[in-house]
């Protein structure tokens, strides 16, 4: 690991002020320390933002909730209001990593964690995301766990977060602060597709600090988060889904939210499936049509076509489970 300076910031403004080229923010460190040990991240300075006072979960007057960026994943998943009002978020967070990692990991760090693509993590290999212009060995090589939608010839990586999938379905608003002032970035919209510059995971500028994630009042309906993985616990998703469904007394779908994890460079809001479902008669036929509408976009690679079938089955079976 390359030597670096370490400073603990007292407040957000100080953290932003301490950020120079070569600086990285450190929160729980569960992703960044790992990447530094692997030689993937080589900061000159770490500004520790893990103890900044953004550690509260507070209701807001419009019925929503404000979640601080340094709230630990374990505290988010265990919070009574989150469990009661945003169950898909509680379930998504609880399904991620392990008890130990969740005790360290923060909301801000979880959003900005990097892909688990094996080539990205191996500095002896080329990788456009880590070393722009060197190529993407995953396309001809090992990609069984990588993207089926939204990828490019430059990069087929997926975003690994579970929490971000639920936040994407819930229309989260990410509050950030930087030298240019404060702004709000909506989800979907924080993460970006790889295009020709996969080195950029998100729309954030260098030095921008996430302070809070705000959720609007929860939409009416039954909701859940389901995750398919290679073992029953402590594994990243192959495909996951955050879903909400509300059916009126005539059996018509009134509201529906669907977001997929493990399929793209971003937590993937399945807007076409939602559009197909809302206003239609709830039932097997509508669920299948919604899944097909979304997955018409899929461009699977030779070794991950199984994910298309997996995503389709996950969408339909989850909707079936949520229907009363």
């Amino acid at each position: 690991m390359r030597p670096f300076d370490y400073v603990r910031a007292g407040d957000g403004r100080q953290a932003v002020g301490l950020h120079e080229p070569g600086t990285m923010y450190l929160a729980g460190g569960t992703n960044l320390v790992d990447l530094m040990r692997l030689g993937v991240a080589e900061p000159d300075r770490l500004v520790d933002v893990g103890r900044l006072p953004y550690d509260r979960i507070e209701p807001v007057p419009d019925g929503g909730v404000r979640i601080g960026a340094t709230v630990r994943n374990s505290d988010l998943g265990a919070h009574p209001d989150i469990r009661r009002r945003y169950p898909m978020l509680a379930r998504a967070v609880l399904s991620g990593a392990s008890g130990q990692v969740r005790n360290m990991a923060t909301v801000g760090g979880n959003l900005l964690q990097r892909t688990r693509c094996g080539y990205f993590q191996d500095v002896s290999k080329p990788c456009n995301k880590r070393a722009p212009g060197t190529g993407c060995p995953a396309i001809p090589g090992e990609h069984h766990n990588l993207a089926i939608v939204g990828h490019s010839d430059s990069c087929v990586a997926t975003h690994p977060s579970d929490m971000a999938v639920a936040l994407t379905a819930l229309d989260a608003r990410v509050h950030v602060t930087g030298t240019g002032g404060d702004r709000v970035v909506p989800m979907p919209g924080l993460h970006r597709l790889p295009g020709t510059d996969p080195q950029r995971d998100t729309v954030l500028e260098p030095g921008e600090l996430i302070t809070t994630v705000e959720l609007p009042a929860p939409p009416v309906g039954r909701s859940t988060y389901r995750k398919v993985r290679e073992r029953a616990s402590f594994a990243f998703a192959l495909v996951s889904i955050a879903a909400l469904l509300d059916i009126d007394s005539d059996g018509i779908v009134r509201e529906c939210r669907l977001a997929l994890g493990g399929v793209a460079h971003v937590p993937w809001r399945a807007a076409r499936a939602e559009d197909a479902l809302i206003g239609s008669v709830a039932g097997e036929e509508a669920y299948a049509a919604a899944a097909d509408a979304e997955l018409a976009l899929a461009r699977p690679l030779p070794r991950n076509a199984y994910k298309v079938a997996l995503a389709r089955n996950l969408i339909t079976s989850t909707l079936r489970e949520l229907a009363p």
Partner: protein
């Protein structure tokens, strides 16, 4: 280099340290507390689990400098005296290890886990406090791998320590 004050098993240490040092390396290499083990150094196995300010964490992913001002408890400090912690006793009674390499991490993880409460990823009803049955224990302990596969007895030991199942002695008496 960085200067750091950290309390480990109730002893305060003032240290000058390379910023790259993990808490795990500080414990093992500087303080010679070799109970905490290095299995993977990537957060994937749990053998380095310790309690920081009462919460279980992977000490391999924690920079020591980030622990300035914290209280750390390692397996050496669990009992807090000459005897054994009830979780340690339960592991012995239930024969919950073979080689023992994962055990210090398992022990710290159990002590942290028993303090956590709340639902897990497998809890059916998120509004309830679930009963800590074998399935809940397995889910909550999934961050601790055991290469010897002593899982069955580890679960039994945790059930015993948590008081959800009758201790072996009683079970045998009934039989």
């Amino acid at each position: 280099m960085a200067f750091l004050t950290v309390q480990v098993n109730d002893v305060e240490h003032h240290l000058d340290l390379d910023t790259r040092t993990s808490l795990l390396d500080l414990l093992r290499e500087r303080l010679r507390l070799t109970g905490s083990k290095k299995g993977c150094d990537h957060g994937q196995c749990g053998s380095c689990t310790v309690l920081v300010d009462g919460r279980r964490v992977n000490s391999c992913l924690l920079l020591a400098v980030a622990c300035d001002g914290s209280q750390v408890t390692t397996v050496e400090g669990l009992a807090g005296g000459d005897g054994l912690h009830p979780v340690q006793e339960a592991f012995i009674e239930q024969d919950a290890f073979q080689c023992g390499y994962c055990t210090p991490g398992q022990l710290c993880s159990v002590v942290g886990m028993l303090d956590e409460g709340g639902p897990s990823a497998i809890t059916e009803d998120l509004s309830t406090e679930p009963v800590l049955d074998a399935a809940e224990i397995r889910e909550r302990m999934s961050g601790n791998l055991c290469r010897c596969g002593a899982y069955v007895n580890i679960v039994a030991a945790i059930e015993q320590a948590a008081g959800v199942a009758a201790p072996v002695a009683q079970a045998e008496a009934v039989r």
